[in-house]
Structures are given as C-alpha cells and as structure tokens.
C-alpha cells in the first residue's frame, strides 16, 4: 500500500489547479497533473475550476468513456469535474455524450431576463437518507464513511449549472439553494462527484482529502 498515494489531477480545461494541488500535497498526497493517461495513479481527480464550454466534444467523450469503463481507480470529480460525469450540460453548447455515468443533462441554476444566477458561498450539505442510493456501499471505494464525514458540514460552492434530480439513484448528498434543493454529491461505481469545492472549504475539505488518503493507504 502506498504511503504517499499518487493523485492525478486531470488537466482537461483552463482553471486554477494550484489550490487543489497544494491541498492534496498538504495532507500527504503525491500529485501529478496530466492528461487522460492514468498509469500508476491511485486516484484520479477531475478538477473543479473551469468551464465545460471550453472542452472539445472529443475531450468530453474521452472522459465519459473512461468513467464508464473504469473499474479500478477511484475517481473524484469536483464541481465542473462532477458535471463531467453527466451526459451533458447546457454550459457545453448542447453536446451530449453517448456514454456517461449519469444519463442526464445539467441545466442552468436559474436563467432570468437579468442573466444567469450563480450559487456562490458557504452552504450546508446533508446526506440523502433512504432512497435508492444504498447500492454503492458493497462494491466501491466510496463507502459511507465519506458521506458520514461530510454530512451536516458547511462547504464552499461556486457554480452556475446544477442537477435538481435529488431523488435519482446517483444522488447521495443534497444542498439547499435559493432555487431549491440540488444534488451536492453523486456516486456511480468508482466515481464520486461533489458539486462543492473541498479545496476551498477550509479544514473540512482538508480532512475530507485526508480521509481519502488514509483509505488509499489502508
């Protein structure tokens, strides 16, 4: 088992990867920033800062294909990285992946005649109790320990597109916004997506990363 697991941050769109890299190093990860070749990585992280609109259709399809076919490496998608786990987003000019872990298209949080709204700030998140989200526990790296740790914490959100389907099979955590309840976290097999930013969420985020590191080392 690795003492300093290798986290690969996927450099898939323009954005600040430095904050994420520093947070991971701070809790004991070795970090590699690279493309879609994941050889040797203990965990793959799809980063959160960026716009899906800057991805080409080929890049979007390549990520979708990897996520669906990946059976070995845990994947953490953060914000836009979580949104890459979906078939598409209105941010991505209407492109829809033919294969993706979540077969839905993300919508605007809200679009009014004064422009699109964003959900920016510190928000509470809660685990979704009951429902059909129990199936992941036995067959994925992402067990309930992660959900239980994040339950009832306050974390930082910064996004303009979202998933409102909180009763879907993938949804494991929710958050309240002015527009209603949104999906705050999803789990599909080896893929864990969080709509918030652990790397911007102070000690809560650092402890979450440390929990991942500890489990990878176990």
């Amino acid at each position: 088992m690795p003492t300093k697991p290798l986290a690969q941050i996927v450099d898939c769109y323009k954005g600040n990867l430095g904050k994420l890299e520093r947070a991971l190093v701070r809790v004991g990860f070795t970090v590699r920033v690279a493309g879609l070749d994941f050889g040797g990585a203990d965990i793959v992280i799809l980063p959160g800062m960026g716009s899906l609109g800057s991805l080409s259709e080929a890049e979007y399809a390549a990520v979708g294909s990897f996520l669906v076919n990946n059976t070995s490496i845990p994947v953490l998608g953060i914000c836009a990285g979580m949104q890459l786990m979906y078939a598409g987003s209105k941010e991505n000019n209407g492109y829809v992946n033919s294969v993706s872990p979540v077969n839905r298209v993300l919508d605007y949080l809200e679009y009014t005649n004064t422009g699109q709204k964003s959900n920016i700030g510190w928000r509470g998140i809660k685990k979704l109790t009951g429902g059909s989200c129990e199936h992941w526990e036995a067959k994925s790296f992402w067990d309930k320990e992660f959900i239980n740790y994040l339950d009832d914490t306050t974390v930082f959100f910064s996004h303009s597109f979202c998933d409102y389907e909180i009763l879907s099979a993938e949804c494991v955590m929710t958050s309240e916004t002015e527009q209603g309840s949104i999906v705050a976290a999803i789990i599909v097999e080896n893929n864990f997506g969080v709509q918030f930013h652990p790397e911007l969420s102070g000690f809560i985020g650092l402890e979450f990363f440390d929990l991942i590191r500890t489990k990878l080392c176990a």
Binding site: K14, G18, K19, M49, S118, W122, F156, S158, G202
Partner: protein, 260 residues
Amino acid sequence: MGLGRDLRIGLRVDIKGPRVVKCVQLEGIRPLSTVANFLQQANLDGFDEICLVDTVASLYDREPGYDVISQFASAVTVPLTVIGGINNIEVAHKVFESGADRVGCCTAIFLNADLLGQISSCYGAQALVPSLELKCINHPNREYQCTYLGGRELSKFTLMECLRHLSLHCSYGEILITSVDAEGTGKGLDMNILDKYPAESSHRVILSGGIGKISDFGVLADSPIVSSVLCSQLFNVSKVDIQSAKDFISKNSARCLRNL
C-alpha cells in the same frame, strides 16, 4: 446556512509590489508590512474569502505580482479573488495559474469589455467578478459614477449604465462594489449605493469600503442582496478578531454565517 440570508466576511488585502498597503479613498497608499510578514501573522483561514487587490497595476500598466498571488494561494484554503492589472486573457490565465480562484476586473470594463466575456467563457461565469469603484458625484441626488485606474479616472457610466454595459459583454456570478468615498475612512458602509442597485438583479453584491468598527456590520441585517462584505481597515489596521465580528453579526441580525 439560511437561503438569501447568508453573509460572508472577507478580508481585502491591498498590495503594491511586495508590500501590503492601506489606502484612503483609493489614494495615499501607506505600507503596512511585507507580504511575507503579513502571511506569517494573519489567520487567513478564519475569513470566508480573501480578496487580493493590486492597487496600482492598471494605473502603471503592469502585470499583477504572480509571486504574491502564489504566496497567498499557498497560505489559504478559502476562496481567493485577485483584482488588478488583468488587461488581457493571457494575464488572466497566469493569474488563475498562480492560484486565484476568481478574478476581478475593473479598468477592463471600460477599456476592454470583451475581455470579461472571454474570461467567463473560458473559466465559467462564477469565476468572474466585475469590480465597480463608485464615486458619489452629485450629492443632493446621490448619483454614483464608475471610476477606473484605481479611482483616478471617471468613466462615462453611472452604476445602472455600467450594469447594462456588463450585461452586453459577459456572464458573471457576483459583482464587487467599492465605495471610493467610504473606502479606508472607517466611517461605515455607504448603503446608499444599494438604493441604486436593482433589487431584481441576478447578481448578488460583494460590498467593500468603510467598515471601521464592528458595529458597522449592523446595517447589513436587512440587505440580502449583499452576499459578502470585504474589510481591510478593521482587520489589517485595527486588528479586530474575525470571530468578534461574526459574534456581533450573529447577535444582531438573522444573517447566517459560516461557523469555524
């Protein structure tokens, strides 16, 4: 956190070169300490966000201090917004790569508005913070005019005209409004600015300028359009503890704060 009632308390750090400085009405720049000393002494993670403002980058037409941004990014685990000197997309890329989570543009709004559209297309609307520095120019009617180049130049736009101008060029998440008249005076927030801000706007306001004592937060109790307030004088000069400020707000309003 309460919906529409949440409030962030942010630290505004004005920078000139390698020094943390303090301005009064965006002028009279006074050095406070070196960046290194400041980072050693400040408890930055206690704030809900940090806003780093290069006070003279646009005025002197020079690029932001990437090393300074990187030092701050390494020191904090809360969101970092960087403002000043971002006058083309290449500079914006470098600022993000140095560790900014959001970038703010002020002078570019008036000299190169297309840049804001480029940033929001590339990084997402939530990563762009238009920064308006407003000066009261007609005291009986309290009209506010936008300024740029660190408050030195008066633009042709009032607040409303500038919001219309922005809507033609970019999508953005929140908007930063700094009162040039109140900034650095410690005489309290200029809440009259918000009377001119459309209540139906999709964009909540980060308000900056004027907080000099803890009781100045009291006026925010009934302003849900304000999502965040940035303070410099209170924390950097008066050295008030962030938790004391949060305790006051919790006791005196229904605003919801992030608990540490």
